[in-house]
């Protein structure tokens, strides 16, 4: 078993990198399926990124743009010949625009069993406030 990512037919053209090599951005990326929900405290996002380990996941915030990128690593024998393939690229990428209400500095992210969970809190000013009414 080798530590490569050769599970897709397109690996030559997409520039899938093997362990130890420098990573260049492949042209073809899959759009991971996401669930997004907004609560009072902020936004929770779940993204399916199977095969992506913590080391191979990048979360970038540039201005109001949030990008998640990851590369799946699948251990397959080197001499594998694909008979059927539904996942054609081991590379995931998706971008989102963050509203001004959100505080990108306080993003929390966890990765478990190939699912990325992110919580993006709302900034203090944007949270719903309850105003106490004083009885005079």
């Amino acid at each position: 078993m080798s530590d490569n990512t050769n599970v897709t037919k397109t690996n030559q053209t997409t520039g899938v990198t093997q362990t130890g090599q420098t990573q260049n951005t492949p042209k073809m990326a899959l759009t991971p399926a996401v669930d997004i929900a907004e609560g009072e405290s902020g936004i929770t996002l779940f993204a399916d990124m199977p095969g992506v380990s913590k080391e191979r996941l990048t979360i970038k915030v540039e201005g109001d743009n949030l990008t998640i990128e990851g590369q799946a690593q699948i251990d397959v024998p080197e001499n594998i010949e694909l008979l059927h393939s539904e996942v054609r690229s081991p590379y995931f990428r998706r971008s989102f625009t963050l509203s001004r209400d959100l505080d990108p500095a306080k993003i929390e992210a966890t990765l478990k069993h190939g699912v990325l969970q992110m919580h993006i809190p709302k900034s203090e000013e944007a949270r719903p406030k309850r105003i106490e009414v004083k009885v005079a």
Binding site: A37, E38, G39, S95, H113
Partner: protein, 149 residues
Amino acid sequence: MFRSFQATGSLFPELTRLQQQLEEMFQPAGVAGIRSLAYGAFPAVNVGSTPDSVEVIAFAPGIDPQEIEITVDRGLLSLSGERRSESSGQQGAKANTYAQERFTGKFRRVISLPEDADPAKVEAKFRDGILHVTVAKRESSKPRQITVS
């Protein structure tokens, strides 16, 4: 709907995704072609073959490996289980859902193994949401080199 959290970036992946969703929506039930798998089935499966084994790679993120049931019966490898929704109930009753694309519910995928696969030698590994099933091939079917004496 997507005011505070918008998908951006390249337009084409978004269009492809939209097209896939429309195809799923309008595909008549039961008519899925000779391969009998609807697009977007969960988990997505890649099948490869080496001289020694058949490799089945199922992309099953967010599933507890203990809850995946793998059976081999008369040359059919079956993967089944259930993926529960993680997102519901986390934000409380006031949550607004902006996107719900991830699969939830029960799933079952059946893969027909080649004749030379040995159902007695099946190994399964799970890492980072990928289930990797290796089915060994029968000794008798492996390519052999015969030396001329």
